[in-house]
Amino acid sequence: MKNRLKVLRAERDWSQQALADRLEVSRQSVNAIETGKYDPSLPLAFRIAEVFGLPIEEIFMPR
């Protein structure tokens, strides 16, 4: 899956660690999702959507 995590994070001026803290996961997890190495589970994807205040499909999209 592709995602817009990096762009959305930059718009809010959040570091990977800041986003990780909001999601209650490790910075490594955010990095792995952001770089497309790891696709989050549905519950985590919903949490990410909630943190950014956007629907999931505006954050994640098929390759």
Partner: protein, 141 residues
């Protein structure tokens, strides 16, 4: 969340591991002290010889609990991948060596070494994770 190994799940794992390691060392000391070499398998000697093995089962339980208690799904996946690599390494090595033992007179590996081989496999799993994801949990074993 800070370093993955500073999360409550890892802290609990390290605490359990420390206690179990102390129990293992004590059990090995007691067994070595009170069971003579080449002892007959009397109930007492067998019971004493079982003690270190119980501590090893404790280590396995602690690793299982770590998987259950880890909240971070990516970290859990890295741990599971390490376990799978370690299991593959152990099955591969023991099966291949077992065949060689069957057909030739090479030295027999005591079955006791299966767990240390698996633990060495975890280190290989760490390397595999670093290649695949550029990171690992940083959890020493």
């Amino acid at each position: 969340m800070n370093k993955p190994t500073r999360t409550p799940a890892y802290k609990r794992y390290f605490r359990r591991h420390l206690v179990l390691t102390a129990a293992y060392l004590l059990a090995v000391f007691l067994t070595s002290r009170f069971v003579p070499d080449d002892a007959e398998p009397t109930p007492l000697f067998v019971a004493l010889a079982l003690l270190p093995g119980i501590a090893v089962i404790g280590w396995i339980w602690a690793m299982g609990r770590l998987l259950v208690e880890l909240d971070d799904e990516f970290m859990r996946m890295l741990e599971v991948r390490k376990f799978i690599v370690a299991t593959g390494v152990t099955l591969g090595l023991t099966s291949v060596w077992g065949m060689v033992e069957l057909y030739t007179t090479v030295p027999r590996i005591p079955i006791f070494f299966v767990f240390p081989i698996w633990c060495a496999g975890l280190m290989i799993g760490t390397i595999v994770n670093r290649f695949a994801f550029g990171t690992d949990t940083g959890c020493p074993r």
